[in-house]
Structures are given as C-alpha cells and as structure tokens.
Symmetry: C2
Subunit: 224 residues, 2 copies
C-alpha cells in the first residue's frame, strides 16, 4: 500500500505543483488519476514511486516512511517492488529493446542470460518480440512506449505506476496494454494509471481527479 499525508511539492519561483494532498492506495487496488495538463498528476506519481521527495508532508510505501530512508533504502524499495512507466519513456538510447527491458530486473542479481529470457517473454506480451535487437531510435513512438511498459512489468512488481501508458498508442494497441495491466491487477498487483483517455478512465474502478495541485474528487463508482 502507498500513502500520502498532507503532501505539498513546490518549486523555486512560486510554482505549487501539489498542495495539501492526502490519499491512500491499497494493496492490489486499480486506480486512475485524471486531470488537466499541468495539474500535478506526474508529480503525484513520482512521489508515490519514491522518485521525488515532498516539500511538506509524508509518503509511506509498504509501511516505510520514505523520508526517513537513505538514498540506498529508497532505491532498494523501488527495485523490490515498484514498476514505473514514465510519460516520456526514458529508455536507454544505445541499448537494444531486449536489454532495456532486462534492466527492469537488474536488481534481482540474476545472470544476464536469465534476465534476458524474462525480458524476451515481456516483449512477447507487448507484441514486439521481433524487434528485440532494435534500439529506441529505430522504433516508432508507440513501439518505444510498449518497450517502456515491458520494462515496468518484467519483474512482476507489487506496485505498477503508469504515466499515460497509452498516450502514443492507437486504440487497438492501447486496449492491449490496458488488458495487460488489468491482468497484473487480477494477479494481485496494485496498479495506478494516469490517463487523459476518456474510455480508459471510464473503465477504472476508482478515479482520483487532480486540479491545480489538489485532489478535486476521489470517485469510487459503485459496482463497475
């Protein structure tokens, strides 16, 4: 589970990306985050994923107070159980698709051969087994996004944080990605998805609405 309590995130020059945000994501929950451009969605996800620290308030992940952990403690927490799909993919440039995905299980200490086997299986799940040897600049925008998704899920993490995972995808490819995330949720992972796709958002059992750095609504539609 992940919990924010009275969290703010400000930047120099008076930008208040988040203010007074308190929320809880339960183990195994499927949650959407929606809101206008610049409202604070990615900032919220980065804090949940221990990739950023709050200006005020506290973040607890799996019971740990993230602020009290060392840098190493935070990376260990991430490596053990958080898969992240970045909004701008952040793939390693001169590295093949296979090795970009294998990086997702770097922390396991498994030998490279075993990690690449897991990576090849993840590439098959996103429909790109035949491009394992290509590097990011040799792939289309949507193909790169699917590599980023494969890297996030290859280690079967307990918490998956996905920032607009269908942003670069056509409807059919996007639906396949959402099916993949739903499958991981069904298997027990907590999945948090930022999306501006109305159809994707409508299909989620809970939707947190962010507006000007605050939580404007936390919608749990009945019996979806």
């Amino acid at each position: 589970a992940a919990e924010l309590d009275g969290v703010a995130r400000h930047y120099p020059g008076g930008v208040r990306a988040l203010d007074g945000v308190s929320m809880r994501i339960g183990a195994g929950e499927l949650v959407g985050i929606v809101g206008p451009s610049g409202s604070g969605k990615s900032t919220l996800l980065n804090l949940l994923g221990t990739l950023d620290a709050p200006t005020e308030g506290s973040v607890r992940i799996a019971g740990h107070d993230v602020g009290a952990l060392s840098d190493n403690g935070r990376s260990a927490l991430r490596a053990q159980g958080i898969g992240f799909v970045f909004q701008q993919f952040h793939l390693a440039a001169n590295v093949t698709a296979l090795d970009n995905v294998a990086d997702g299980v770097l922390y396991t200490g498994l030998p490279v051969r075993r990690r690449r086997e897991q990576a090849a299986a993840a590439l098959r799940r996103v429909g790109l087994a035949d491009r394992a040897g290509h590097r990011p600049h040799e792939l289309s925008g949507g193909q790169q996004q699917r590599i980023a998704i494969a890297r996030a899920v290859v280690g079967d993490p307990a918490l998956i944080l996905a920032d607009e995972p269908t942003g670069a995808l056509d409807t059919a490819s996007g639906e396949a990605v959402i099916r993949l995330l739903r499958g991981l949720h069904a298997a027990g992972a907590a999945v948090v998805v930022i999306t501006h796709d109305r159809e994707v958002a409508a299909g989620l059992p809970r939707r947190i609405h962010v507006q000007d750095g605050r939580i404007a609504a936390d919608e749990r539609p009945a019996h979806t």
Copy 2:
C-alpha cells in the same frame, strides 16, 4: 503543395517502413493521417517535411524535387515554409520556453528582440505565457507539447506537419490545440495531422489510412 510518388523507405535488416506510397497534399488542405502503431505514419510525415529521404521514389514540395536539392537547399525550403511538431517534442534542453519557440523563426534573420516578441505571442496562444522563463525539464509533458506546437506555428508557415499534437494533452487542452491548427488552416496554411484520437480524426475533412507501410484508404467524406 506536397507530393509523394512511388515512395518507399526501408531500413537495414529488412524493415520496410513504407512501400509504394503515392499521394498529394494540396495548398491550404487539412488532412489527417491515421493507422496502427508502427504502420509508417511518422516516416511519411518526415518525408513530407524533407527531414528524411526516400529509399525509392520522389518527393516534391512546392514544386521542388527534394532529392535534387542540396542539404542547404532542403533546410532553406524547410525554414521558409514548414512548421513541424515532433512526436517526441525535441525541445532544446537547457533553453527557456521562450527561446525554444523563438528558434521557430531563427531563419528570418530578425533580431532576437523581435523573434522573442513573436515567440511570446505564440506562447500566449497555447496558454503558457506565464511559463516563458522555464526550461523543458521544469514543465509537464503536456506543457512541453504545447511549447513544441508554439514553435511550429510561430512563423506562420505555409505547411504545418503535426505528429500526434494532442498525444500528451487532456481533452480540453487538446481541443484548444485543434482549434489553433484549424485557425491556421482557415488562414490559408496546409495542415497535416497524425492522430490516433478518434474524435480528432472524425472532425477532419480528409483521412489517409496507413497500414503496414502502405496507404490502405484515402477517405474524403462528403460535406464534412
């Protein structure tokens, strides 16, 4: 006007991004390009924008055979009249939003002060006048996309090529961008938009469908 005739674009290793593509975009036309991830849309747009060269066939822009031009000739053609919104934005990293947009009229030779005035006006049109001093890493995904759009339109080019211009935007911000592009079209520019957003595609007077590197359909719905 822009014209492709028998165009193919292949990559080493047997990837056939485009094959046998012939099409024409008239001066002042508004056209959509749709198709699955990896089908060849960005490749097509890069060829139309003289940013890439075909493996076979010819590309003519405003009557010039692009293959017969020198590198300088091609950049002059681009600078004089083509505005490009890249799928991955490609903003200059340590440069302010204002100067990123001012780069869109670098070729005019106008003094920096004048270029920055034009850039400030373009930033206002995309709703980001208050972030002129921020650099790309200080802006959200959608804000960066809007900077990229402002840079493409700041010089009032005759041809605007936009690769998923609403991909990182919520519905309202996306609609504002489409209104901006429609306004430029109404003023006489030719506008070509790659999109996987069903609503955006449905509103365009012509839709070119790309599938596995070929034009599968060229839909000109009557009386839209």
